[in-house]
Symmetry: C2
Subunit: 494 residues, 2 copies
């Protein structure tokens, strides 16, 4: 064999096995209009998992995801996860979970990408500038409900696999998908599905990747912790029906007054949680943590501008980051059953239900929090000596999650960020909850990384949610690079 022949053979081998980031990145750039169209199609499906009237849309959304993955040649399943029990006692079919597999080379690592395609409620009249279900691009931002949370990241993962396929490049790792449709209401049915498939679908998974979060600033980030969430309903019931406040006001003991009274005992004006036992359970802030928070890029003035307030609960970076990420808090979301429209109505609502939630951090335990909150509210309610009835229910109980930032999965993340963005990522925690991270960890025992591509100002759960075109497209490249970095992790045979 002459030298030329040898070089030719080596080139062929390299074309199959070597990671050709430039070609892949170019492919992504030249297909970005297609990617935006795909996101438009997905956003147009009102897959609101909290609205039972939208359940048909949610079912359709799962079918669309499955079909996309099937067309790419994946081994796809629509996994039946049973039914949801409604308060009325009726049941409603849960959206199926989509699983898919690309590659099963035992010499390669296997990653499992988790994402969700259900969304929070959104209505134009909530104050959206554009129709929340019609993806609208303004100044490089793609506005629409679910754009950032979590439809664009799921699509970016799908497109990253598709890019390898389109260029006939072998995937550096086997890629699995688990895409669900109940995340926004507590991932009903998913825990059981993971447990049931622990020794089948999940048995050869090495790493789990979640991209259901966002950066802290314009600098890319790796997320190593999330808060959990305990979501409560506090229902106060009095008369058997709503009453005229003129006719009955003064003699009826009003459920609304009782509810306001107990809600006011949850948290102080300065943000101190008043429920006994909650603050005592929180892990103390270590010196290491304090130093780490000091190093994070966080422009307080810019942050205040963005949300439109001139004062926050704290006025220094460490306190703010710590209260976003590693301290609990109480938010009162609203009251169901009272008069909530515009205009005036002189009604005494007969049954009112407050919705509030408490963010969970290490070392809180949702089961204990449930008891602490229930006991406390019952005791303050009892002091009112009202004949109305209080019922406290915890409808979501999601634990917090914390990872080791020195793990090879995080080193791979740092390298991929360096490759695509030519900078080091922020190491951050997430104030929100991705309950499934904790479940994956507890049930499968696998390592998990959260690799966000959402922007810091995407407005998740709020009006005018968006994903920037930049984050969507560069994020797709980040996923492509990350798959390659993971393939370099030394494979350990247990």
């Amino acid at each position: 064999m002459n030298l030329l022949a040898l070089v030719s053979i080596l080139l062929v081998i390299s074309s199959v096995h070597a990671f050709q980031y430039t070609e892949l990145a170019q492919y992504v750039d030249s297909h970005q209009e297609e990617y935006v169209e795909a996101l438009r199609d997905w956003v147009a499906i009102e897959s609101d998992s909290s609205n039972i009237l939208r359940r048909p849309d949610l079912h359709r959304m799962m079918e669309v995801v499955a079909q996309k993955l099937r067309l790419m040649g994946g081994t796809v399943q629509l996994v039946d996860i049973g039914v949801q029990e409604l308060v009325s006692g009726q049941t409603l079919e849960l959206p199926k979970v989509v699983t898919a597999e690309f590659g099963n080379d035992t010499n390669k690592h296997t990653v499992c990408v988790y994402g969700h395609v259900d969304v929070q409620p959104a209505k134009l009249e909530d104050g959206w500038a554009t129709d929340p279900y019609n993806l609208t691009e303004v100044n490089g931002n793609l506005y629409g409900r679910g754009a950032s949370d979590n439809k664009a990241p799921v699509l970016a993962w799908i497109h990253s696999v598709e890019a390898y396929q389109a260029l006939n490049m072998e995937l550096p790792v086997n890629v699995k998908f688990v895409i669900e449709g109940m995340e926004e209401t507590g991932s009903n049915g998913l825990d059981a599905m993971i447990l049931a498939q622990r020794d089948t679908f999940f048995s050869d998974v090495d790493y789990i990747i979640i991209s259901d979060c966002g950066w802290r600033s314009r600098r890319p980030a790796l997320t190593y912790g999330t808060r959990g969430n305990c979501y409560f309903f506090a229902e106060v019931e009095g008369p058997k029906q709503d009453l005229h406040s003129g006719v009955y006001g003064g003699v009826v003991i009003e459920p609304m007054t009782d509810l306001i009274g107990i809600l006011d005992t949850l948290i102080s004006p300065s943000g101190k949680i008043l429920i006994p036992g909650i603050r005592e359970a929180v892990a103390p802030l270590s010196d290491d943590e304090w130093r780490m928070y000091q190093d994070i890029e966080f422009d307080i003035d810019n942050y205040k501008d963005k949300i439109g307030v001139n004062q926050l609960m704290y006025n220094n970076k460490v306190d703010l980051l710590a209260h976003m990420w590693r301290y609990p808090t109480v938010s009162i979301h609203g009251i169901q059953g009272a008069f909530s429209d515009s205009g005036t109505k002189t009604v005494i609502p007969a049954k009112v239900t407050a919705k509030f939630s408490i963010r969970q951090v290490p070392n809180m335990d949702p089961a204990i929090v449930k008891k602490q909150v229930t006991d406390y509210l019952n005791s303050v309610f009892a002091k009112r000596k009202t004949p109305n009835k209080l019922k406290v229910t915890m409808v979501i109980g999601a634990k917090p999650w914390l990872a080791d930032t020195k793990h090879p999965l995080y080193e791979a993340g740092k390298a991929a960020v360096k490759k695509v963005f030519n900078m080091d990522p922020d190491l951050i925690r997430e104030g929100g909850t991705i309950p499934i991270a904790r479940t994956f960890q507890d049930v499968t025992g696998k390592s998990i990384i959260m690799l966000p591509i959402g922007g810091f100002d995407d407005g998740l759960h709020s009006q005018n949610e968006k994903m920037s075109r930049y984050n969507y497209i560069e994020g797709t490249k980040l996923f492509i690079a990350y798959l390659n970095e993971v393939s370099k992790i030394e494979k350990v045979t247990v």
Copy 2:
């Protein structure tokens, strides 16, 4: 002239002038299906004055009333009362006020019947057993929004005039009508219209009759007082848009927490109003009043059963009646802008507006109450040291009203009740507000009576509002008899 001829002449005279109650009552009985159908047609029009999207229905409602009165030969006007200013700064045409006149014999008294044909909001999903805009008869009750408040009473007045006409009997008094379409939101525009027509339409009116209220028990009643109402919006505004409670919870000072905090300072668990100055302004309960309340038929157990509670704010008749009728109270109706649907949403609402109202009694003054409430809420809000902004607005400020039960108008009422029901009426006050009573009194200087035909359990402003067929039909007879009793009042030339 022989005797026979004389008798014939006398009979003819008597057939024109004598009050033939039996014939009139029989006419009413035999036409009751028509009356129910008329009510069905009126209830089917969703004339909700608080919902600006329903304004076209409200305009149509006023036209239907006018057309009915025109067909009866009345002199009818649709009086333009201008526009309503919306919070947005836009304006919206107010529903015209219908005025009508039947007869202008200066030898007779002239009564003016006031009523309204707008309704409170109602949705099937609020808990109605039947479609609120489809009048449904169950066990002799006619269920529908506005059935009792105030469409059936207005129709009963129209039908009472129509009965005289149908039997070719002369009306014993001249009858005028003033029918408006904004009562449920504070009679916007009506005060100015009454003032403008004080010396024209109202100049020859002797007495004003209002039937926008109900009995206290199964015994018919005459109403001699109403509470007024000051309706407030307390808006707390923070971030420029709703935020995700996971991402921002703990660092943002939440408007909802601030709002709950100030609402909780309005009234104590035992019903004590905590706003300084309010209780001090209330006229003391006199011994006479105390004795009067003692005599009123009021079955506390039945009352509790009806509304489905096992304990009221007080446990004796006098305290209960006094707190329904002649003491102020605070009711919190609801919160706009927060999450109020079923399900869960992890949102920090950016702007929340509480709706609450304070019932007014002698000697409170709405202008002073406005200042007391605004100052108080601003002061408790300031103590929270929150950066959020509070805006307190009084959107309705209606004064209470009180009449003399010894006035000839009330004596006529007692006689009419005796005629139709063969019993004496309860003399009662109304906890609700009929602001226009006070306006009529202040502007026209005329005497006013409230002559209710609604049942004590009609569920005004609440789910399953109804008018019983019995009250509707016997009420029509009461109005017929009342017109005759009024004609007997000695006519005083001033």
